[in-house]
């Protein structure tokens, strides 16, 4: 479970990364292909669009993560809901891009390495733990959202 303090830690540390946001995907994919070169072939040769998507997704996650508890009953569009968006991302990764479950570990490692590199001394144990917990939840969400039945309707809207 991600605590309120961890959510704030994530927001704060992402704010520190913002000035170097452009170099985040460069660092991330360089590290990923260093530790798992076999995944390079899953991406197109031109990585520019992919890199933009990574930063957009991380920014979305950080923003969608933390909101005041007093708004717990608020209606939020599924397009803006962290879990719904990440679940859809998970389905695309397994169904469309055929990304195996094993890939989530090196991706997580590359993400933490990138933050470590980018934040330097600000990458404290708390920051590492918070991002590690967050990535663990995101990857679980993506794996749980795989379309096991092959029908494409796993995250269904339940009829009343």
């Amino acid at each position: 479970m991600l605590t309120h303090a961890q959510k704030q830690t994530i927001r704060r540390s992402w704010g520190l990364v913002a000035p170097i946001a452009d170099s985040v995907p460069d660092l991330f994919y360089k590290r990923l292909f260093d530790i798992a070169p076999e995944y390079r072939k899953l991406f197109s040769d031109d990585m520019s669009a992919q890199k933009r998507k990574l930063v957009m997704m991380l920014t979305f996650v950080v923003n969608a993560l933390d909101w005041p508890d007093e708004f717990w009953t608020a209606q939020v569009s599924p397009d803006e809901d962290l879990v719904m968006v990440v679940a859809a991302l998970g389905r695309r990764h397994s169904n469309l891009y055929k990304v195996p479950d094993e890939a989530y570990a090196p991706v997580g490692e590359a993400l933490l390495w990138t933050l470590d590199y980018g934040l330097g001394e600000a990458f404290t144990t708390d920051v590492r733990d918070a991002w590690g917990t967050l990535y663990g939840l995101l990857s679980k969400c993506m794996i749980m959202s795989r379309d096991l039945a092959g029908s494409g309707t796993v995250v269904a809207e339940k009829a009343h």
Binding site: M1, L2, T3, H4, L65, W67, D69, F71, W72, T73, A74, Q75, V76, P78, D81, L82, V83, M84, A87, L137, K140, C141, I143, M144, S145, L148, V154, V155, A156, E157, K158, H160
Partner: protein, 429 residues
């Protein structure tokens, strides 16, 4: 989302879904596709679905014990107009984790003791069976030579309470909304008026007694905190304007810890009730509705039970469920039935017929002569945040008289101490 609990724990699933702001249901299924539990969440809060009869915290507690062969399915539901929160998921899970750790420590401690390990702190991964497992101990006032599951009892309740010959009376019903809390409260007042020292233990968080009299804010420590092991009974009891009557609120400032809903509390209930009996002539326990595990835990800890039924067509079926619930308890753990009271009798044929049917089927003479009519006095009293027995007004006086009769009838069936002669409220001076 879907998967198997052999790949993800339910905590994993809840940790993920708890981040969603959608109205979501997590369903657990057995390998035959049967539904085992469903947990409704909204914005990180546990909420109740309209169709769910079980307390959501109890459902969550049970779900967390689901075996690994279960599958989970997550659905998004359309938002509804209003939500009732049963606590923040993060806090409920943290409570549960802390108590699971504590329960494991208790089991380890018990295992290192020469006496047999208690059945109380079970950490089985199987879902609990519907009826409470028969505890290996008799219900009331055990001799000192037969310590009951002492390691599982809280610090507050582990103190040996004086052995008394007092009476503990559960007010129970297989159905919700039949007026149990109202009857427990007004019966308590009438018994106190008869000069008895009375403690009402509220065990029903949903039908909270203090909310009935608009006194919720005065509760600091509740029944479930004491069962949890935090707080002292003496401090938790709230005095009332009625001399001799004290009330133990169901919940204190916080909602009951989740894990209490998922572990066997029989030993803790026995400890708490025994301790209260050391301080009163009669302890009334307002049970949660239903003959569920939660209610049966209490029923096997009291000496007597009073059943409450609504005068309606299904009353006789409720009566059967009541009898079957009691029969599920081991004989030595079964409380004596002091009687059953018919509540909310209306002036119509259906209501009268339901009552007659109940009486006709009552070969054991359990249905009490005192019947409580449906009356606007209850609404008036509730609006005035006053127990109906103490509320003025013509309708209330009539109802108050009925409760005095009920107290008289119940008291005549209980081994209560003789009340002082001057406190019986005799009309003639």
């Amino acid at each position: 989302m879907m998967g198997s609990l052999s790949n993800f724990t339910l905590r994993d699933v809840l940790d993920v879904v708890g981040l969603s702001r959608q109205y979501t249901v997590v369903e657990l299924h057995g390998n035959d596709g049967s539904s085992l539990a469903s947990i409704n969440l909204k914005g990180g809060h546990l909420v109740q679905s309209a169709s769910d009869q079980l307390d959501p915290r109890e459902a969550l507690g049970r779900a967390l014990q689901a075996p690994k062969w279960c599958t989970f399915h997550v659905f998004r539901l359309d938002d509804i107009d209003t939500y009732q929160s049963f606590g923040q998921l993060a806090e409920l899970l943290a409570d549960e984790a802390a108590l699971t750790t504590a329960a494991a420590a208790v089991v380890a401690e018990a295992a290192s003791m020469p006496s047999p390990a208690p059945a109380a702190a079970q950490t089985t991964s199987e879902p609990p069976p519907a009826p409470a497992p028969a505890a290996p101990i008799a219900p009331h006032a055990a001799p000192a030579s037969q310590p009951r599951a002492v390691p599982a009892e809280s610090a507050a309740t582990a103190t040996p309470a004086p052995v008394t010959s007092g009476v503990s009376l559960a007010v129970a019903s297989p159905q919700g909304g039949v007026g149990k809390t109202t009857i427990a409260l007004n019966l308590g007042i009438c018994l106190a008026h008869r000069g008895l020292r009375v403690i009402i233990i509220d065990a029903d968080v949903n039908g909270d007694l203090l909310s009935l009299i608009n006194a919720r804010g005065s509760a600091e420590i509740g029944t479930y905190d004491l069962l949890h092991g935090s707080g002292q009974l003496e401090r938790a009891l709230r005095r009332t304007v009625v001399p001799g009557l004290q009330v133990l609120p169901a919940a204190g400032r916080q909602l009951p810890a989740l894990a209490l809903m998922s572990t066997d509390r029989s030993a803790k209930w026995r400890g708490l009730i025994r301790q209260a009996m050391g301080m009163a002539d009669i302890v009334l326990v307002d049970c949660p509705a239903g003959m569920s595990h939660a209610a049966l835990e209490i029923l096997q800890s009291v000496s007597h039970v009073l059943g409450v039924f609504q005068a309606e067509t299904v009353a006789s079926r409720s009566f059967e469920m009541f009898e079957r619930g009691l029969a599920a308890l081991a004989e030595r753990d079964r409380p004596s039935v002091v009687g059953v009271v018919v509540n909310m009798l209306r002036e119509n044929k259906a209501s009268a017929r339901a009552y007659e049917k109940l009486v006709a089927g009552d070969t054991a003479g359990r249905v009490l002569k005192t019947v409580i009519n449906r009356s606007e006095a209850f609404e008036e009293a509730t609006a005035a945040a006053t127990p109906v027995r103490l509320h003025g007004g013509d309708a209330s006086r009539k109802t108050a008289f009925t409760f005095d009769n009920l107290a008289s009838e119940v008291a005549s069936r209980l081994p209560l101490p003789q009340a002082p002669a001057d406190s019986t409220g005799s009309f003639m001076l």
